[in-house]
Structures are given as structure tokens and as C-alpha cells.
Amino acid sequence: MVDQPDIHNDDWNGVVDNPWRRLRQFTAARIGLGRSGISLPTKEMLEFQLAHAQARDAVHTPLDFSALTQQLETLAEQYPLLNEEPPLKLHSEAVDRMTYLQRPDLGRRLDEASRVLLRQEQQTPEQPFDLALVIADGLSATAIAHNAVPFIQALCEELNADKQEWTLAPITLVEQARVAVGDDVGELLNAKTVLVLIGERPGLSSPDSLGLYLTWAPVRGLTDARRNCISNVRPEGLNFSEAAHKAGYLLRESRRLQLSGVQLKDRSGALLESADDMAASTEKTATLEHSSAAADNTITTESGQPSALHSTAEAKNFLLS
């Protein structure tokens, strides 16, 4: 029968600890939580609530576009590669966050005011830009606030090192936006390639994951099969220089081959190419993909995971020892 603890002992806090908690050296999963009766101990329950609160805030806190604009203007002084024009603030057809969450179709289109603004902007169409960078809030403003500027800085370094010249369109910031909004922006700015930086659906342990989506010859109505994705860009995931390296490779290859999507493979390094990682991405459509029907995962994805999580293949599994 269950041991009866001595509740008069001052050390007793009602919690049964799990000695296997040390197995957390192998995983970030919440193992060995211990128990109060058969329930979560107070500390573990409150820590979970905090993680969920942070993920919720990532979804619902509006992005501070003026702070972002300032940071980008400072960056532009440092990197002449970036267009000297200040970033343009745009909006999707989703009027607010509640609409955005329920109407993915509206988040994929620029609203009319933004379209007018871009048409005014783009006065000399004879010379297309090589690249348009689009910053979209997506499902995590936190991801953009933390990770967009450092990534663009790393990308500038990557592009500066390239032999060929890159002309960049003015950076655009799009509110209530999904990935495909980049097609509208790229088309209206007359850009050969668009790279969308977007806040990914926040996980409990990763509220600030940035996704990168590259599309060659952007035009409204493209499917996801035409895109390449780099996922989980954040210091604890795929770090900025690695992400910029991958993005630089894809940009050069896309420009050389004049295409993007499934025909463009990332061979920039040993990579995890995973359909299921799409579960973390903003634009995952066929979402009961718990499963991984390959046909659904039409976006070619690369993802970064902390290398510390890899154990050596030869090691005998502890559970089988």
C-alpha cells in the first residue's frame, strides 16, 4: 500500500520527487516532475502556467513597429547594402488579431491602403530589386522583437561577402500577416525574390521562434510548394549566423537557378530536413499532421535544433542496459 508520510515532519511538503528527473540531461521534455498525490506539484504547475502565459503573450502582444523601425534605421547606417529608404509599414486585410486568427485567407493579402502605398513607392519598374525583405508579425511578435534585427544584420554580413551585387528593396513591416503576404509585397515592389521573416506559432518552450520563407518571382496566388523555409531561428535553436548562412545559400542558388521551393534543395550543410517540423510553422495548413503525410508538407523546410540534444549514435540506450 501507499506509504503514509509523516505530515508532522517539517520537511514534508507533500511532494513525491522522481529520482529519474536526472534523465533531463537527455531531453527538454518535462519528465520527472514529481507528484502531489497523483497531481502536479504546485511549483511545476505554476511553471507551466508561466510558460503558457509567455506563449499567449507572444501571440497577442502587438508588435512595437516604431521601435523596430528605429533599430532598422540604425542598422541601415551601418550597412549601405540596405535600402536607404525608411521601412514601410503595411497591413494585411485582417483588421485585428481575432480576425487574423480565424481568417488565414485575409492575413495572406495586403489591404488596399498598403497596396496604394507600394504602387507609389515603386516608380521605376524597369530595374527590379534582387531581394525584398518582409517582416511579418505572424503568430509571435516576441520572435520578431527578439530576433528579426540580429538576423538581418547577420544576413547583411553574408550578402556583403558575396561576389555578386545585391540590390535590396525598402524593408516592409506587415501587421497581422501570414507568409503569403510576401507575394503581394514582392510583386508590387518588383522584386525578384522575397524573404519573409515571420513569428512562428509559439511552443511552450519556444515562444520566440522566427521563420524565414524564401520565394522566387513572388506573385499573388502562389502555393507553398514554391517556398523554401528555414525554421526555429533563435539563439537556442538555429543561431543567427547559421540561419544567415543557410539563407544566403538559398538566395544565391535561387538567383542562379531562377526558382524556389521543392526543386531548390539546401546543401549548405548537414541538415535536418523534416516534414514534421512544419508543425511549428505559422503557415501549416493540413494541421492534423500529427502524422506526416509527405504530400501535405509542400514547403521545403530546414530546421535548427540545439546540438547538445544529439547523443552519440553508438551509446547503448540506458533503458536497454
Binding site: 518535462r30 518552450s205 523534416s274 540534444l309 551509446a315
Partner: protein, 475 residues
């Protein structure tokens, strides 16, 4: 085109274009139907549609198919497999009569088993639309669906769990750590099922071998499954991998399933291949299916139907292949299909009811994503309601946090809560194993032992002593 349906309310007449339109407008509100443009245009229209639907004879569903027979192999399956003899006792009912009968004492567990092959998915969906949550619970609880492989699923007063030890890089020790955590919390009698991070045949085989060795070493009366595409599992079988269950996500239209990369013939081939391995001990149900409202719409393959009707049609696909487990992944799809806790809870109860009525071993991934208007309290509610409804199994994951798929589902602790508060035991084979291994002193009462069970203590001793303080960061 089929005939329109009309219903007069005072001086006002409501018209519904056809049966599919009537069913869609009668559906309790949810964001996916709004997105598809098939939702009722007012609360009154919904209530009227429910009244009109209640008047529709069940026989109508055999004559007015929602997706043309010629265009859709799921429709052909539904019509061709319909059992007229089983249908006879309910054939004179309208949808409204059917609800009354289901709730009555005439609809005993035995009677519900007898008529199930006479019920089509559309009949089940239609009646569910005019049932309240308590009706869905009460009738589902009367349905008996028992399946088996190495454990028996679906016996009365039992609630099984899928142990879901996912890891973002498929690290073998990381997965084993979560398996151990689950087993020591009494989880895993439905299946130990991994969603692989790297989705290919070689990786699936590695994961199958790991689970097979763990199940063999500790003599666990359960089965394993790698949730990879059915064609991958077929290749694994050809290469001699230890496959217990074949997984596939399924939908309720041929076009949805095509977008998932399979058809009915693929599933038939997979079931035969898995059966040929003869790895079951107490039964031979070898398929594991997952479903979820909204999948057809997200694949742009819904033919103008509401998402719950599409979902129920997927159960015809499942029923054909004698699954051990069917799982509706109810909150995973996101708020554009099920917006908040209220919609997720309703959908979970509908899916469970319809599947049980059609004779499927239905479990539920009681879950939500961080962009849905839902939280742990909503999941507590749905878990408790499903436990009362006799749900076959739920998920079990360390601390509710799936670090690979980035969503929250029920934890090992949650399952013990449900077992204890509702008096539900694990599957009988697993219950005996938990006590033999000294994990639980009284598995039926969900009582865990405090001491580390000896067999597992031995494995933990083999770990290097160093390093034990350094936890992998949650980032």
C-alpha cells in the same frame, strides 16, 4: 442537384439548398464552418435548420449522397458497405426519432452494437447536430467497442493511454527518458506511439527497434507505433522491421486522402502486411488512425460540407480496416477551425460519440495550440467529460508539453486524475503488469508506489554519475 429543404417559422420560410447545406447550417457554431462560408447566417437559422434536420427520414441519407458516388471512393464505401439488415430496426426513424431512440432504454449496449453497421456517417453526424453535450456523453457511454493486440482496449470502466515520447531530434536516449517517465506513471497501455521528427524509413525503423526492445525487455503488454506515412510503414515491413501497428492520418473525402498521399487500396495493403507479421497476442487489430475536424477544408477537399460531417465520413474509412485505435486530434488544427475551448470541447464530444456509434475504438487527443483561445482548464473539462463518456484512450505526455509538435495535450498526471476521479482502470493486461513491476500498488485505484520499481532502478544505475545536474534547457 438534390431538392431544397424548407421550413416555415410563422410567416417566415427558411430554405436550404440541399441536404449538405441543411446539415451545415444545423451545425453548432465553429470557426472552420465560418471560414468555409457554410455556417448558419444567424442563430435563428441554426435552430430552424436543426428543426428541419430532425424531420429528415434516416432513409434519405441512403438516397441523397452528399458527395457524388461517381466522384468519391469514400461515398462508394459508405453506400456499398451499408448493412440493410442492421438498419431495419431504425429504418423508419427520422433524425429526431433517432435521437429519442438513442437516449431511450431500448437502445441498450447490445442493441447499439446490432444496428451500428446500418448507421452511415451522415446519419451519425446528423443526429449529433441535434444532441446536447450530455446526450453525446450518455449515448457514447452505452456503446461497446472492444479491440485488442497485446492489450485489450475499450472494456467498461477502463481508460487507456497512448504514451507519446516525442523528441525534437528523435534522440534515442531522450525518447527513452520520456518512455520511462510514462511507464512509471502507469501510461502506455493503448500504444507507445512516436511522431518522428525526421520522417523517413530508416528513422522509423530505428524508432520501431527501440520500442520493440523496450517492450520485449520489460515484457510490457502493449504495442508500438511510429506515426509515419503508411507507405513508409509498408517499406519498413518489407525490410523486416518490427511493426506492431500501421499509422495513417485519414479524412472523409477521397480528395483529402489523396492530399495525404494514399487511397483505400493502400490501407488494405497495409492492414494485410501488418497482419502477416502475426505480432498480436490477445487480438489482431493492427491499424492506428488519426482524424480531426478541419482536415478536409485545409486540403481544400470538403465539397462544401461542414467540417464535422467530413470528419464523420472519415470514420467509414477507419471502420473498413478494423483499427485497434482511432484518435481525433481535436485541438491541434488551430483556431481557424476550432476557435476556443468551447468549440474544442464540443467537437471532441461529437467526434467521440459519432465514432462510437459507428463502432470505432475512439480515443481523443485532448489538446490545444498556443494560438487557440483555450487553456489547461478547458482540457481538464474535456478530459473529464470524455472519461464519463467512456472514451477508449487519451494521450500521455510528460507535463502536457509536446516539445516536438509544439502543442499541449494531456499529461501522465492528467490520465491518473481521470482514472481516479471516475474510477477507471487501465487495460487489464497492463493493470496486471503495473502491479507485477511494482509501479503501482493498486492500478485500479491509480495508486503509485513511492519506491522506484526494482527493474527500472537497475537501468537507471547504468547511467554515468556525472552530468546528472545539467538539465537540457527548455530554451
Amino acid at each position: 442537384m438534390h431538392k431544397a429543404y424548407r421550413y416555415s417559422l410563422g410567416s417566415k420560410t427558411y430554405e436550404f439548398r440541399n441536404l449538405a447545406d441543411l446539415m451545415a447550417r444545423a451545425t453548432p457554431a465553429r470557426s472552420g464552418d465560418r471560414l468555409a462560408g457554410v455556417i448558419a447566417r444567424s442563430a435563428e437559422e441554426r435552430a430552424v435548420a436543426q428543426m428541419a434536420l430532425a424531420d429528415v427520414p434516416l432513409k434519405t441519407f441512403l438516397n441523397e449522397v452528399l458527395i457524388p458516388y461517381e466522384q468519391d471512393e469514400v461515398t462508394r464505401l459508405i453506400i456499398d458497405e451499408h448493412d440493410a439488415l442492421a438498419f431495419a430496426p431504425i429504418s423508419h426513424f427520422t433524425v429526431g426519432d433517432f435521437r429519442n431512440w438513442l437516449l431511450s432504454d431500448l437502445a441498450s449496449s447490445d442493441m447499439l452494437s446490432k444496428i451500428r453497421n446500418g448507421v452511415t456517417p451522415e446519419m451519425a453526424a446528423a443526429v449529433s447536430k441535434i444532441m446536447r453535450n450530455q446526450d453525446l456523453i450518455l449515448v457514447a457511454q452505452k456503446c461497446r467497442v472492444i479491440t485488442a493486440f497485446r492489450s485489450t482496449i475499450g472494456l467498461p470502466k477502463r481508460l487507456a493511454t497512448r504514451l507519446q515520447p516525442n523528441h525534437p531530434t528523435d534522440d534515442m536516449n531522450g525518447i527513452a527518458a520520456s518512455i520511462l517517465d510514462g511507464l512509471l506513471y502507469g501510461s502506455g497501455d493503448a500504444v507507445i506511439g512516436i511522431n518522428p521528427a525526421t520522417d523517413n524509413v530508416a528513422q522509423a525503423t530505428r524508432l520501431m527497434k527501440l520500442m520493440d526492445e523496450v517492450i520485449s525487455k520489460y515484457e510490457i503488454p502493449t504495442q508500438s507505433c511510429v506515426l509515419t506515412h503508411v507507405t513508409n510503414t509498408l517499406e519498413c515491413i518489407e525490410q523486416g522491421a518490427p511493426v506492431d501497428l500501421v499509422f495513417q492520418s485519414i479524412g472523409g473525402t477521397e480528395a483529402t486522402n489523396s492530399s495525404f498521399g494514399f487511397n483505400l487500396a493502400t490501407l488494405a495493403e497495409a492492414e494485410q502486411a501488418a497482419l502477416s507479421l502475426q505480432r498480436g497476442t490477445v487480438g489482431n487489430n493492427v491499424m492506428y488512425f488519426e482524424t480531426g475536424q478541419g482536415s478536409a477544408l485545409s486540403a481544400n477537399a470538403h465539397h462544401g460540407l461542414d467540417q464535422q460531417t467530413c470528419e464523420t465520413r472519415a470514420y467509414a474509412v477507419a471502420r473498413k480496416f478494423n483499427p485497434l485505435l482511432v484518435n481525433t486530434v481535436v485541438g491541434f488544427i488551430g483556431p481557424e477551425y476550432l476557435f476556443d475551448g468551447k468549440e474544442i470541447i464540443r467537437a471532441g464530444l461529437e467526434d467521440h460519440f459519432c465514432a462510437k456509434l459507428l463502432g470505432l475504438p475512439m480515443g481523443c487527443d485532448v489538446c490545444y495550440t498556443n494560438h487557440a483561445e483555450a487553456d489547461q482548464n478547458d482540457m481538464d473539462n474535456l478530459l473529464t467529460l470524455l472519461g464519463a463518456a467512456g472514451c477508449s484512450f487519451v494521450m500521455g505526455i510528460p507535463g502536457s508539453d509536446d516539445i516536438m509538435l509544439n502543442y499541449q495535450t494531456t499529461s501522465f498526471h492528467d490520465a491518473l486524475y481521470a482514472r481516479r476521479v471516475l474510477g477507471l482502470g487501465p487495460s487489464p493486461e497492463f493493470e496486471a503488469w503495473l502491479e507485477k513491476m511494482q509501479i503501482m500498488s493498486n492500478a485500479a485505484g491509480a495508486c503509485l508506489n513511492e519506491a522506484l520499481p526494482p527493474a527500472f532502478a537497475a537501468s537507471l544505475k547504468t547511467l554515468p554519475a556525472g552530468n546528472s545536474e545539467s538539465e537540457v534547457s527548455n530554451g
